[in-house]
Symmetry: C2
Subunit: 270 residues, 2 copies
């Protein structure tokens, strides 16, 4: 999916919500455990309930890998279901990969050829040759970690170098030599508040993937105030607050209501 | 496996070689493709041929994930085979993971409970809460990326901050507040030469996992001269130069000879 198509979907749906499919057997409604594939059953119900109110889904690989091969089969089924039934949804594999060139090329094949998602999150620590193998797939995106939503984001990402540039700014600036706003986005945590102003100084036109509203406590108002650009430029993710809004047999309706509420809030900013 | 056991294995075998199992269907001998599980057949033959000369194996997850679920099944079989037949081998999942605490905990379960390897490589960009969920498993290790072997290591890892500290040094220094030399190692590329002196200044006692000899061109002599400590402190990895030493029916014998040659070189430094 290219940038114009993504923005068109956002305008049509009045939403820039991404629903995080962090599916955990310990947290899904217990009646689903009787299903042959409880993870897929849960994901399918969540997708059917929320698709009207979001433009993207983001399964985090960790949750599927933790269930071993069965978990990865559930993930494959989930992606196939999305592609068959909701082809306008942007699918992000939240994997935070990154390795030497030779190896990143293998990861790129996994995500863009085997799994066939639209985007994959990448960690920047290993530099250019760890990132570029993911570029050059038509309509596919790298979403590079810049300033993350967690407490540990302060350990290294905010380190200021001798040119007065912080590491997350250097990552954003340097990576623009490798890619454009048509094939790269950046992860910026919703918990970062006014730091979005600094991000927009180095990346005015890029889409930002913004985790951290909901369970992690980030504010949609601040994100929009400081982070939105003329083509929206934001995909705001919520995982736990939507998919685990309720864990009874009413879970899908509750997820739908939670997604609708976020989308209603978002519509005001568009 | 704890540090004393690892060092005992190194002394007994006169080797600190780690064999990288970066198994790629395009590169293995073509006669193996007739096997039900060519990847496992290749790994098993390589392990049987090289186990006398190494103390560790390091499958890189990218190569298995690129083959989808079948690839991960081959990896599971490989790890089970190692554990059953070579219980003194240290098994490293080269995965370069790292996510927010809630998610890193799921990855830790994958690697240390499901897959049950001895160590996993972790990217430091997201800081403390992305790393600590992997600690606290008895006898299990985090191997944190510090100064990698690839060209892109120069993009961010060498950035000097306002205290005169380079990012890789800050990563090593800061992470010692989270872990000890009994449950953390660092990745330092063999291509970094004299930089090992700087590494040893901040981490005199830690084991270092050193990729980059062989196909990537690093020098064993430099690594040992500047990086070895009183308990060896090195696991030097070679992947392609050993496992693809030959791609005819003679591949296993050629891999054995290549591993023996590296181990013979290593014995001189012990």
């Amino acid at each position: 999916m290219n940038k114009a198509e993504l923005y068109a979907n956002i305008k049509r749906k009045h939403s820039f919500l991404c629903v995080g499919l962090d599916t955990d057997l310990k947290k899904i409604p217990q009646h689903l455990l009787a299903d042959d594939d409880p993870v897929f059953a849960f994901n399918k119900a969540i997708i059917d309930a929320t698709a009207d109110y979001c433009v993207a889904y983001k399964p985090n690989l960790a949750f599927y890998e933790a269930m071993g091969i069965k978990g990865l089969q559930s993930l494959d089924k989930t992606i196939a279901y999305l592609k068959a039934n909701y082809p306008d949804q942007f699918i992000i594999a939240d994997a935070k990969r990154g390795d030497i060139g030779n190896t990143s090329k293998m990861y790129a094949q996994s995500f863009f050829e085997q799994m066939n998602v639209d985007a994959v999150t990448i960690a920047p620590y290993m530099g250019e040759d760890s990132v570029t193998p993911f570029l050059g797939y038509d309509g596919k995106w790298v979403i590079l970690l810049a300033l993350t939503s967690n407490k540990g984001s302060q350990d290294f990402q905010l380190t200021t170098d001798t040119n007065g540039e912080r590491l997350f700014e250097k990552v954003i600036r340097t990576s623009q030599q490798w890619a454009t706003d048509e094939n790269m986005m950046y992860v910026v945590g919703a918990t970062q508040g006014r730091m979005f102003e600094d991000i927009r100084r180095v990346a005015p036109n890029h889409f930002l993937l913004v985790p951290g509203i909901g369970a992690q406590g980030g504010s949609l108002d601040e994100v929009c105030k400081y982070g939105m650009n003329s083509q929206c430029g934001l995909l705001v993710n919520s995982s736990r607050a939507i998919i685990y809004a309720d864990n009874t047999e009413n879970f899908a309706a509750a997820a739908r209501a939670a997604a609708k509420q976020v989308a209603d809030d978002m519509a005001k900013y568009l």
